[in-house]
């Protein structure tokens, strides 16, 4: 990713600000930057979504295929991730330049979705032992300054003065992703963490790590709620033909 040049004083300014709960753009430690989300941008794919978060632009496509389930897991479907860092993001990603980043992201995603509580692969089974759905989830990174949480959602400047960055994957609340028409008694939902990944040249004490993970989970739950509401609103607009499709044109 493109390098950010910061003087020592600027780094001190950012770290002191974080200690006192304020950041250079006015957010608090667990606020996200505003993001734009749009679904169904690619009509060839079974499902697609586009997410824009400040300088990061990601396009995700999901394609389905009928496949034979694994012999040791006959009742489960399959899911496969593929991340492609497009050269549009930075010239360093030309050819095979972005492969390292892409592989690390796809491995994290795979681990995140392995747990049965994150995504139930049983839903993908057609005939046990004979046929199942295979989902191909393809992520295209078209523009990136990727950051994730120690301070939640750091900007590129904050990331360059951080010692460690931590990525936490948290399970979503099923209430937002299904149509529950009647008020059912849903079991009390507790967000669970399904994957943790660390990057960066430094080290962190266990207490700090625990705090950071908790902070990440709180932020993720808020994010999940916002996403769920947006998806619900999009679905409702599509049903009532009110939705305008923008894609990249806006």
């Amino acid at each position: 990713m493109a390098g950010i040049l910061l003087s020592h004083t600027e780094k001190v300014y950012i770290t002191h600000g974080v200690k006192n709960e304020y950041r250079s753009d006015g957010r608090s430690n667990i606020d996200y930057r505003p993001m734009e989300l749009e679904t169904d941008v690619v009509s060839h794919a079974s499902g697609s979504a586009r997410l824009r978060l400040a300088n990061t632009d990601i396009l995700v496509g999901v394609k389905t295929e009928i496949d034979v389930p694994k012999p040791d897991k006959p009742g489960l479907g399959k899911i496969e991730f593929f991340v492609d860092c497009s050269a549009n993001a930075t010239p360093e990603f030309e050819g095979r330049g972005g492969e390292q980043l892409a592989n690390s992201i796809s491995n994290i995603m795979l681990r995140a979705y392995q747990s049965a509580q994150a995504f139930n692969l049983k839903q993908l089974c057609i005939f046990e032992g004979k046929q199942c759905w295979k989902l191909y989830i393809d992520i295209l990174v078209t523009l990136c300054r990727i950051g994730e949480k120690c301070v939640v959602d750091p900007t590129a400047e904050e990331e360059s003065c951080s010692l460690v960055s931590l990525i936490v994957g948290v399970t979503g609340n099923p209430k937002y992703y299904n149509d529950y028409e009647d008020e059912e008694e849903l079991p009390a939902f507790e967000a669970k963490c399904s994957v943790i990944s660390m990057h960066g040249p430094g080290s962190v004490s266990p207490q700090n790590l625990r705090d950071a993970i908790n902070q990440g989970i709180i932020a993720a739950v808020c994010l999940d709620e916002a996403l769920g509401k947006t998806l619900f609103r999009e679905r409702r607009d599509t049903e009532q033909f009110k939705r305008h499709s923008y894609g990249f044109l806006k």
């Binding site: 690619v42 060839h44 593929f82 492609d84 497009s86 050819g95 295209l140 078209t142 523009l143």
Partner: protein, 250 residues
Amino acid sequence: MPGPDLLSSQGLRLDGRRPNELRRIRCKLGVFTQPDGSAYLEQGNTKVLAAVYGPHQASKSKSSTEAVVVNCQYSMATFSTGERKNRPRGDRKSLEMSLHLRQALTAAIKTELYPRSQIDIYIEVLQADGGAYCASVNAATLALVDAGVPLRAYVCACTASMAWHGGSPAPLLDVGHVEEAAGGVVLTVASLPSTGSIALLEMSHRLHSDYFENVLSRALQGCRDIEVILDKAVRDHLAEGWTKQDVVTV
């Protein structure tokens, strides 16, 4: 005779167009802030993103003392085609497309102005529904204009095919994927419409030489029509840019 079903008895094509109609083109310049120039173009259901970096210092292996080195990369997203594509770039077809792009764009850029420099052009095809190469050339032209690279003229590309209507030949403009797959001849032309010259000409399948002139002139007419659309988009973008600047500085 090739392509018996491409034209109905009323003279309409498979997607309802007349033989000399282009698909709807929607485009936007300046979609990303990080590359020097970027553009998004939709031609019917084909969606393409282009990003331009440069001119910047050339890598030692590619540097040339006479003219700028134009480096193109053509990449297709894995979810862009009907059947999922495993390798986004690096396969033979993408490499060939990159070479064709380089040929068409080098003809338009004033290469003698930047010796020892390099211009990178990255194309990402988000959805391919026939004519992906043409959409790429058109998007690359817009991205070059957005980056401020001096051009001799706009480069526009268009495809044309041949069908039979009641025994007489009828050239078709801007073939979609279904018409391509039906097995008819496809002539791809990249030209500089304001000077009338042709930068790239490519044809698949067989065409009798008696009909060649007819199909070629139809494709060149298509290129002229596309140039009008691209020119209007550039002027609208610039007009909007002035007003945006006023808002920002106040």
